[in-house]
């Protein structure tokens, strides 16, 4: 191989950019590869539906004519460094008006300073870490934040399940798990309950018997496992084997069909809080789920639903702004009020965090069943 050919590489990068046509461009930063590529696929599917739907109607009215919308999806590999690169590319090379993404909080946190500095509105579907939007003007999210979810589960446990004592087992090496676990502990205590065990483990551990043996002595009414779907079934199996009968609770990290595939019958009777439920009586959600199911043969997960909502939020803001200008879109987005999406109503009141409710889902006979809605 002639080394001199390498010198031509930069030219090819330049060749990659195409002149912009008359269209509204929205960037999407999603983990298409890497450890959670399934979420990237959900993102891509939801975006495909949103794009087709808006363009079927001619697009969005800018000035006095309809302009079509085009999404540019880039792979951030679920890595903060790659997300920074993706944001730079979307903003400076593709000249997008707004960005949807990224999905995980660590990536959104890496992209946010770039979007903020460039004055490009960023709407993240799935990043629940409070830091992402904190102190920033251009960063919004379609989901609730971790503290809210911890509170929802604590409220559900005390009011609906009449729990007096609770224990928590969580992954201390992951920000998501740790954040929710701590809020749950504080809120549950504030509501008059007692935490009888607060145990930790590390990502990829497979033996939880020490933690559950310790917890068993405290006889908790409920056990909160704010961990991801790939670990929870194993944890519950081990707890049941030790003779623990407490009701199992979880957060939105449980939301994946794998949960019941891995856990089987042992998952029945457990509850978890989530962004939305496919059973919820909401015409917008029903329409989206039907389209998604016919096209991709699976029920959309929360990440897909939230991504779709992000796209709709931006469409609405663009229509309100009436021009292809990032700052105007940001202003329109910031005063969004009573927006109805797949995951419920979204209102922004002075910050990028929406005021919105959560749902509690029960696992019954290997199926996710809507149990109740909790509003702030």
């Amino acid at each position: 191989m002639n080394l001199r050919l390498l010198a031509l590489l930069p030219l090819l990068v330049l060749a990659g950019c195409k002149p912009t046509a008359q269209e509204l461009k929205i960037g999407v930063s999603a983990p298409m590869t890497g450890d959670i590529s399934a979420i990237g696929q959900s993102t891509k599917n939801a975006i495909a539906i949103a794009q087709e739907e808006i363009n079927a109607g001619g697009g969005i009215k800018v000035g006095d004519k309809l302009v079509k919308v085009r999404f540019v999806i880039e792979d951030d590999e679920n890595k903060p460094e790659s997300t920074a690169t993706v944001f730079q590319k979307l903003i400076n090379q593709d000249k997008v008006l707004a960005i949807i993404g990224s999905q995980t909080s660590k990536c959104s946190n890496a992209g946010a300073p770039i979007a903020e500095a460039a004055g490009i509105p960023q709407v993240t579907p799935w990043s629940t870490n409070p830091n992402v939007t904190k102190g920033r003007k251009f960063i919004f999210r379609a989901c609730f934040i971790d503290p809210f979810q911890g509170r929802v589960v604590a409220q559900f446990a005390t009011e609906k399940l009449k729990a007096k004592t609770a224990a928590v087992v969580y992954d201390v090496a992951s920000d998501y798990n740790k954040g929710i676990a701590e809020v749950f502990r504080d809120e549950f205590t504030k509501m008059g309950g007692k935490i009888v065990g607060f145990e930790t483990y590390n990502t990829k551990d497979t033996d939880f018997s020490a933690q559950f043996t310790k917890i068993k002595g405290g006889k908790p009414d409920v056990i909160f496992l704010p961990n991801y779907f790939n670990e929870v079934p194993l944890q519950i199996q081990q707890a049941r084997k030790l003779g623990i009968t407490a009701t199992m609770l979880g957060g939105d990290g449980w939301d994946n069909p794998e949960l019941v595939k891995l856990g089987g019958a042992v998952m029945n009777g457990a509850y978890f809080s989530n962004h939305y439920s496919p059973d919820i009586d909401n015409p917008i959600a029903k329409a989206f789920i039907a389209t998604y199911q016919t096209r991709f043969k699976i029920v959309p997960d929360a990440a897909a639903a939230l991504t779709y909502d992000c796209a709709q939020l931006l469409f609405k803001a663009m229509a309100t702004a009436g021009k292809a200008d990032s700052r105007a879109i940001r202003e329109a987005l910031a005063v969004t009020k009573g927006f109805q999406g797949v995951t419920g109503g979204i209102t922004y009141a002075g910050s990028g965090d929406p005021v919105k409710g959560a749902v509690v889902i029960k696992v019954e006979n290997g199926k996710f069943v809507f149990d109740s809605a909790v509003n702030p």
């Binding site: 191989m1 090819l12 990068v13 060749a15 990237g40 880039e74 792979d75 920074a84 090379q93 909080s105």
Partner: protein, 340 residues
């Protein structure tokens, strides 16, 4: 040591190349600050150049250990993490008062202090790791350094003052494109002189035959420790730049996967070659971005294949060029004088 060189065309050429890079970087930075981008170099390309600069520092410093010293160290991201967190703590918590200074001086001063802190902290850790690995070679050293990398990441994850697993937010953006280029040029210059000095010769002698080197009077422990300390200091420098460029760091960004990425660029470029370190980083970074651009422009439906195509190209390159692109060879401007 051989006789002193009489003609020095290579040294002159080396400094000319360094000067040229700086002479190009300064106006670019000034234009960026003024908000006037040359049409061809938008902030995205500037960002790529910045990433390339930081990666060159990382790869070149790892080359000291894996290339010149001939060990197989697997903990480079750990040193980087130490530097990144040291710089982040200094910049966000110790030195936030620098805003009172005039803007340019304040940034330069803050950056200088934080980077010095990052290098010192990483060098200290590198020294300690060097001490621990005294008696080990080969696979065992690889395991120890890998273990050290995991210890660093897990330790940071459990320190709440550093943000724990949630990451360190709110780091001021002190790193500029120009700062990275200056640090890169300095790193390459220092490492080039180092590997051509008696230090470098000692490292190479240990790599070639440790027993013979010891018989010649080389203090193996001391030489190894020096290499670890210096390599760690530069990894810390890259970490410090990185933290203040990205403004957000998480412990997981510095796990063994990051080390692997540095290793890939190192082996692609070639061992014991600074030219290779530069070329490896440039080729790898551009390859990844090139595929991103080409796929998203011409075949968006295959965009996910990027992660499949690029390793494939790497495999082909490694099969056809076993010692990497520039293994054990240097561009003439980087070559020591007597060999030119």
């Amino acid at each position: 040591m051989g006789p002193l060189p009489t003609s020095r065309p290579s040294r002159l050429r080396f400094w000319m190349v360094c000067g040229l890079v700086l002479a190009l970087a300064i106006p670019l930075q000034l234009l960026t600050d003024a908000g006037l981008f040359p049409a061809i170099l938008n902030p995205y390309y500037l960002h790529l150049l910045t990433i390339i600069g930081m990666n060159i520092i990382l790869v070149a410093s790892l080359n000291l250990l894996n290339g010149y010293l001939g060990e197989f160290a697997l903990g480079h991201a750990g040193f980087m993490a130490v530097g990144a967190y040291a710089a982040a703590t200094l910049a966000a918590k110790v030195l936030p008062a620098s805003g009172a200074l005039p803007p340019i001086l304040g940034t330069v001063l803050t950056l200088g202090l934080t980077l010095a802190g990052a290098m010192l902290a990483a060098a200290l850790v590198g020294y300690l790791v060097g001490l621990v690995t005294f008696k080990t070679v080969g696979d065992y050293l690889a395991i120890i350094t890998l273990g050290f990398n995991m210890i660093i990441v897990n330790a940071i994850q459990n320190i709440d003052a550093l943000g724990g697993p949630r990451g360190f937010t709110g780091i001021p953006r002190n790193t500029t494109f120009l700062a990275v280029i200056v640090c890169t040029v300095l790193t390459v210059a220092i490492l080039r002189n180092l590997v051509q000095s008696s230090f470098g010769r000692v490292w190479v002698s240990i790599r070639e035959n440790a027993i013979a080197a010891e018989l010649m009077g080389v203090d193996l422990n001391r030489a190894k420790n020096q290499a670890f300390t210096i390599a760690a200091a530069f990894a810390g420098l890259a970490g410090g730049l990185w933290a203040q460029y990205q403004q957000f760091i998480t412990p997981r960004s510095f796990d063994y996967i990051k080390t692997t990425e540095i290793l890939v660029m190192l082996y692609l470029g070639g061992m014991a070659s600074l030219s290779g370190s530069i070329l490896g980083v440039v080729a790898y970074t551009l390859l990844m971005e090139l595929l991103r651009n080409l796929l998203s422009a011409f075949a968006p439906q295959f965009a996910e294949w990027r992660m499949l195509i690029s390793p494939l190209i790497l495999i082909v390159i490694m099969l056809t060029r076993q010692f990497g692109l520039m293994g054990n060879r240097e561009w003439s401007w980087l070559r020591p004088e007597r060999e030119s």
